[in-house]
């Protein structure tokens, strides 16, 4: 299953709902383009909802890191929401779990933005 992304706004925060696989190629490129496009349009409070992401490879991990650092470097903030067990475990073993701001509840994640 290829990756699909859709965006919505909640209280000034952009939520990107992702589903499928974030892997080398189409999935990674789509993620990169979407985040860059949001930032270019001034949307700097971003939540990546990964609840329906069932697979991610090292390229996908790299894209999450890139999205995080790109947003931060532009004065924005990016949080991860609803990690599946597979993605959670991958972020744990790569020691990225504590780097990202990970949330389990959408409303709380939206509120957590300054």
């Amino acid at each position: 299953m290829s990756m699909k992304l859709s965006t919505r706004q909640v209280d000034g925060v952009t939520i990107v709902d992702a589903s499928g696989r974030i892997t080398l190629g189409e999935g990674s490129v789509l993620m990169r383009d979407t985040v860059r496009d949001l930032l270019a349009k001034g949307n700097k409070k971003i939540i990546l909802n990964l609840g329906d992401v069932n697979y991610i490879d090292s390229s996908g991990i790299g894209e999450l890191v890139s999205a995080y650092t790109t947003t931060k470097n532009q004065g924005g903030e990016l949080k991860l929401l609803h990690l599946t067990k597979k993605v959670h475990d991958l972020l744990q073993i790569t020691k990225l779990y504590t780097v990202f701001d990970v949330k389990d509840d959408e409303a709380a994640a939206v509120k957590a933005f300054k």
Partner: protein, 147 residues
């Protein structure tokens, strides 16, 4: 699965997906559990990415050899490219604090995390990666289960 099956694949992104699919099918056929199948398929995917991108650099005249061998105790997966051989000393530790926010460099680490053993042999004619997973559920698992 026969004792050994091997495939000669092009240096394309599709090869990465195909390698992962073959690994998933073969590991499932061999009776690995769901988590182990995922680990094996992900390790193979990372190995294939390494071969296609970093080894053969998408060169159309270079191939990726993918082989699965079932020994008495292990599933041994060999991925060989025809590139210039990767420089293992040039791969930084992705867990070091200064590397955590790098966007690449985690492939070999993930392979090592998911498999029981990983052997990497770079040479001037290509890099060979062996991914080894012990086959449980035979005598060893039986003993564990009876305790």
């Amino acid at each position: 699965m026969e004792q050994t099956v091997s495939y000669t694949l092009d240096s394309t992104l599709e090869t990465v997906d195909h390698a992962e699919e073959k690994a998933t099918r073969i590991a499932t056929e061999l009776g690995f559990g769901e988590d182990e199948v995922m680990q094996i398929s992900m390790a193979v995917r990372e190995g294939a990415v390494n071969a296609v991108l970093h080894g053969n650099a998408y060169a159309p005249d270079k191939k990726v050899i993918l082989a699965f061998e079932r020994t008495s105790e292990d599933l041994v997966i060999t991925i060989r490219d025809q590139g210039k051989g990767i420089d293992l000393s040039g791969i930084p530790n992705p867990l070091a604090p200064e590397n955590l926010l790098k966007t690449s460099g985690r492939g070999i680490f993930l392979m090592r995390s998911f498999m029981d053993a990983v052997e990497i042999r770079p040479s001037q004619t290509g890099t060979e990666i062996k991914l080894i997973k012990h086959v449980r559920g035979s005598s060893a698992a039986g003993k564990e289960g009876s305790q």
